[in-house]
Subunit: 206 residues, 2 copies
């Protein structure tokens, strides 16, 4: 798999920063070819520029339909030789146009132990449900929201005196470790999908 | 809370054995007052007798309705001074008659990280879904199947070369540690329910 990443963001891009840091530290063998935001005010664009990465804003408001917007995204990523798309707080639903342009080559990170608590505010959902283990999940993106094959998961204990905010912070810390690790695993190429299961062909690679 | 447990089983009762062993080892301060099975052939009845515990079979076939059966169960447990009911592979749905007789005093153990994978064959569901973390949950039983307040959870990693059977075995090992620990926590009494959250009033107790 081509080791050029395209990172899609809508906000401050703290997971983008974790990816950039892992590459700088040599723990992730990849490069970020481009960071694209659908919002011009996203703080992650400035992070990208500071790291010497091309930062592009493609506003969904400039396109007539979701499909047109997604075609523009795909074109921008392909022009830059992106082999793996990493969603990092990208707050847009992707159409089949996008999903099918990068089969098994789009990753997302979600702040819960999926399939528990898909959708928005997963950390708050988990807290209110009273689980004792929350966590984070990196998964391949397919046409079902938050439901593609799971690459990695990590548990985060919920403490008795947690607020939803404190829990979300501890989950975010684990996200920052988990996402670069999962990207490295996917780039290693030594995996296969059986049914819904993402499996390392040679577990020694992991 | 009265430290006399009533354990309900339908099968071999391996979690019953874990409870009996924890009491014998002094890590759980409780006594099992009675073991009740709805099936005469349940291997757990023999385990109970070997441990010097009264083993009772109440066959649901001898009762005209679920409510009548549940009333007989409640009577048998109350006669033996049971303060906390522990479901350990009891394959019967409990009616409100039973649930309301032991408010916040019925525990169940389920082989998944609830709310993921409720219902039957949870370990196989988790395996087929491709999660990387499976686990076990001890929860208080209320009127919603597998959905009462969660007392404790423990994660079990899913390995790339797992079969559903091997995964189920490793989850069961963790169940055997988790259930006695959760029973001890509930018997300690130092907890409260806020919304759906089971919280230790003084986390130092846990």
């Amino acid at each position: 798999m081509i080791r050029t990443l395209g990172v899609l963001i809508s906000g401050r891009g703290s997971n983008l920063q974790a990816i950039v840091d892992a590459i700088a530290a040599g723990t992730l063998d990849a490069r970020v070819g481009v960071v694209i935001s659908n919002r011009p005010e996203a703080g992650g664009l400035e992070r990208a520029r500071r790291a010497g990465i091309e930062a592009l804003c493609l506003s969904h408001r400039d396109y007539a339909s979701r499909e047109e917007y997604d075609r523009a995204l795909v074109a921008a990523l392909r022009q830059r030789g992106v082999g793996l798309v990493c969603l990092a707080g990208f707050m847009r639903l992707l159409s089949p146009v996008f999903i099918e342009a990068f089969p098994n080559a789009i990753l997302n990170i979600h702040p819960s132990l999926l399939p528990a608590f898909p959708g928005l505010e997963a950390q708050h959902q988990a807290w209110a449900h009273g689980v004792k283990l929350a966590g984070a999940t990196v998964h391949l993106v397919n046409r079902d929201l938050d439901a593609g094959p799971i690459v990695l998961q990590r548990a985060v204990p919920v403490l008795d005196d947690d607020t939803p905010e404190r829990l979300a912070e501890r989950i975010l810390e684990q996200e920052h470790r988990l996402y670069p690790e999962a990207i490295g695993l996917v780039l290693s190429g030594g995996w296969t999908i059986e049914g819904r299961r993402f499996i390392l062909r040679n577990p020694a690679i992991g």
